[in-house]
């Protein structure tokens, strides 16, 4: 009897755990293994291979080897993983359920067109043939590339910026914090850089801050876009990222977003961030403004990953500022005074009467003359404040000099 209860209890816990997503391995992006068969170094090498394919063809090949798929159906697990990570609009994903000895292919976007059933069978075959898992995954990836090559898969569609532009370097050329205008002290700078690096790695999205003394004649938007592109900012194949630029010459600021950054930082979201940051900028407190920017960017990226990026009608809930503690006490004092005034007045019952109404015979006046004459009328009007033009709620984009699509906004401080 007790055994049954214990077993039942354990099963319940396991079912609950079934809801827990699997991701906790930040090291590689496209290759996952929770069985421990593949070594870290092996996974890293395979990851590079996968990235290469994505950059070349715009399709992300992903491989997941799972012990039990969290006790879900392999197909459901594959879908859940994709929704969680969203490697690319076009992804081919192979999930292997070690425990159940099952496998499942999940394709999205253009990958659906390129990988027909016979192609998927072929992919499985090459994996299965190999003795060691590492060789199997390598073969799987090579086969993916081969198939795509055969299909002459054209390069990136809208959104994912796998555009091959020779002047855009693949590796990032500069640090995530570039303080050419010298607005921060050495300590502030290193603190900030540490924060930016940590968050960018964690979020798989570059968050960069650049300060310059002058824009050299360019517009702040163009400067920011170009700085981003020609210095190789951006994480992942889509070069996801956001760059915040400050130019001291004319006190301009600009934000440039790319890849995933465009969807994560909507126009309304950027406006919100700047509302929080601008007061610090105006006061010249740059360290505070940059930290605020970084923290908010982190928050925004996390929120975006959940599927609902901050935007029009969906902004971060602020908090009640501490000033209101005093303000509310003041209001409380006022209310308290009024309440007690009422109670105090109940103690008083003696006063002179203002009129002789109780002694009016008949209780009302005998009206002998009553006349209402219309004299004039006039109309006054006040203009209603016009609502500012708002976009449909998402992110507006433009094309930069390098030809890539950027989102962003700019202004003065």
């Amino acid at each position: 009897m007790i055994k049954r209860i214990v077993t039942g209890f354990l099963i319940m816990i396991l079912c609950l755990l079934g809801g827990v997503p699997v991701f906790g391995q930040p090291a590689t992006y496209y290759i996952y293994d929770d069985t421990g068969i593949l070594r870290e170094s092996e996974m890293a090498k395979l990851d590079v291979l996968a990235v290469g394919i994505l950059e070349k063809y715009g399709i992300a090949p992903v491989f997941i080897l799972s012990e039990s798929c969290n006790d879900k159906e392999t197909a459901d697990y594959a879908q859940a993983c994709y929704e969680e990570a969203k490697w690319s609009e076009d992804t081919v994903l192979l999930v292997i359920n070690e425990g159940k000895d099952e496998y499942f292919f999940y394709t999205t976007g253009r990958a659906e067109d390129f990988f027909k059933q016979k192609d998927l069978d072929r992919l499985w075959m090459v994996y299965d043939q190999e003795e060691h898992d590492y060789d199997g995954v390598e073969a799987y990836l090579n086969a993916t590339e081969a198939i795509l090559g055969e299909r002459n898969a054209p390069f990136a569609a809208i959104g994912s910026a796998a555009v091959k532009n020779p002047s855009i370097p693949a590796e990032r050329q500069k640090e995530r914090l570039v303080d050419e205008a010298g607005l921060l002290t050495a300590d502030e700078g290193s603190d900030l850089l540490e924060k930016l690096n940590e968050m960018s790695e964690r979020q798989h999205c570059d968050v960069a801050i650049v300060t310059v003394p002058s824009l050299s004649g360019k517009t702040s938007t163009a400067f920011a876009d170009d700085f981003y592109d020609y210095n190789g900012y951006g994480a992942g194949p889509a070069r996801d990222g956001i760059l915040f630029l400050i130019s001291m010459e004319d006190r301009d600021w600009a934000i440039s977003t790319h890849g995933y950054g465009i969807s994560a930082f909507t126009d309304a979201g950027q406006a919100y961030i700047m509302d929080q940051v601008r007061p610090h900028l105006s006061q010249g407190d740059f360290a505070a403004s940059f930290h605020t920017f970084a923290d908010l960017s982190d928050e925004f990226l996390t929120q975006a990953r959940s599927g609902k990026p901050y935007g029009e009608g969906n902004l971060p809930k602020g908090s009640v500022s501490h000033f209101w503690i005093f303000g509310d006490l003041g209001i409380g004092a006022l209310l308290s005074f009024l309440t007690l005034k009422g109670i105090k007045s109940s103690l008083k019952s003696v006063s002179l009467r203002s009129n002789a109404d109780p002694y009016v015979h008949g209780g009302r006046v005998n009206l002998t003359h009553s006349q209402d004459t219309y004299l004039s009328s006039h109309v006054s009007r006040t203009a209603k404040p016009k609502e500012s033009q708002s976009s449909s709620g998402g992110s507006s984009t433009h094309t930069s000099s390098s030809g890539s699509t950027h989102g962003g906004s700019s202004g003065k401080f």
Binding site: A333, L347, S354, H369
Partner: protein, 367 residues
């Protein structure tokens, strides 16, 4: 020696007094009751010439019927009388008309204060007795927050007296002409503008208001605001004045001449006329008075005694006076404020309100 009047029970010869519960003369010892009117007929002191009739006439000045005259001895402030029952000395003021002997407690009436020109025309006899007054006092202090606890617990009354207070009653007609400016507002909006249309009107009203017996207290010692606060008295209980009603109570005759009281009556009457006319102006969003002209046509004035229960208590070196309308039972009197309690509640409520609003703000933010 002025004539002191004491009423004796026809049955047992004890001091008989007016009983408010039965509205008759009642002997507290043998319980015999005699109707006041009956008593008056068999009273050897009854003087038929004392019953005077007053007619109401419209005239430019208040009609008093006669001028009041002062006897020489009455010019002095204090008078000494001798109690007929015990021989004790009763010290009365120049206005005392009825009082009690401090030694034997017998009630005496100083008839000279109520004769001739000083004789009241009407009296509203007491309807409520001392017990009722004490009960009313207890309910008055009950349930009052911020009343000092000790005051409540003490329940100590220094003095409680049933007094007939002299009043001048003014009747007349007030006429008013008032001009107003009225505005009506109409508001609407379209996509670009908010509009307000204002229409201006010239309004005039004229009318008359009949006043009957506006009371103004004619005793200097009686605080006017206290007396006005226990208004109104109901005229339906008023009877022709007879001295018998006073036995068992205290009484004063007036010492403020009618002309001085007139101003107060005028003030109240004018305000009533203005209110009455303004009430007829309806349907406007905004009304302002441009011109107001109110005249009072003097009618008649009468002199009457109204019943009032007066209570005195001392607390914290201050004297507090309370009054109850001896006919309707309306009880008034300002009570002291417990400053300590006030400030304690102030601080407590400030924090409570502040916390509630703060919590509300957070709730709004989070939703």
């Amino acid at each position: 020696m002025e004539k002191l009047l004491e009423y004796k029970c026809p049955n047992c010869n004890a001091s008989i007094a007016f009983d408010s519960n039965t509205q008759k003369m009642k002997c507290p010892y043998c319980g015999t009751t005699v109707d006041v009117k009956e008593w008056h007929l068999q009273d050897p002191f009854h003087d038929p010439k004392d019953s005077l009739e007053r007619a109401t006439e419209q005239s430019p000045s208040w009609d008093t019927g006669a001028t009041s005259s002062w006897e020489e001895e009455e010019a002095r402030d204090m008078k000494v009388y001798s109690c007929q029952s015990c021989g004790g000395e009763i010290v009365g003021e120049s206005t005392t008309a009825a009082t009690s002997c401090p030694f034997c407690g017998n009630f005496v009436i100083l008839t000279h204060q109520l004769k001739g020109d000083l004789r009241p025309e009407w009296v509203i006899p007491f309807r409520l007795d001392k017990k009722a007054a004490m009960n009313a006092w207890r309910s008055h202090i009950q349930g009052k927050m911020l009343l000092p606890r000790i005051f409540k617990d003490q329940k100590h009354i220094d003095e409680i007296k049933g007094i007939y207070v002299p009043f001048w009653l003014f009747s007349g007609v007030g006429e008013g002409d008032i001009r107003y400016r009225g505005e009506t507002l109409r508001m609407w909006s379209d996509t670009d503008y908010d509009y307000v249309e204002t229409k201006v009107y010239k309004i005039s009203r004229s009318g008359s208001v009949d006043f009957q017996r506006i009371p103004v207290d004619g005793a200097t010692k009686m605080p006017d605001d206290l007396m006005e606060s226990i208004e109104p008295f109901d005229w339906k209980d008023a009877v022709d004045f007879q001295m018998e009603y006073l036995s068992g109570y205290f009484a004063h005759r007036y010492d403020v001449p009618m002309e001085e009281c007139m101003d107060r009556a005028d003030e109240r009457a004018i305000q009533s006329v203005a209110n009455a006319l303004s009430e007829t102006v309806k349907g406007y969003d905004r009304v302002t008075v441009e011109n107001s002209n109110i005249q009072l046509a003097r009618g008649s004035v009468a002199y009457a005694l109204y019943p009032v229960w007066l209570l005195n208590t001392t607390w914290n070196k201050k004297q507090y006076t309370f009054a109850m309308n001896g006919q309707t039972g309306k009880f008034v009197g300002d009570l002291p404020l417990d400053k300590g309690a006030y400030w304690r509640w102030f601080v407590l409520l400030t924090f409570i309100f502040g916390a509630v609003i703060y919590g509300f703000m957070w709730l709004l933010i989070l939703l």
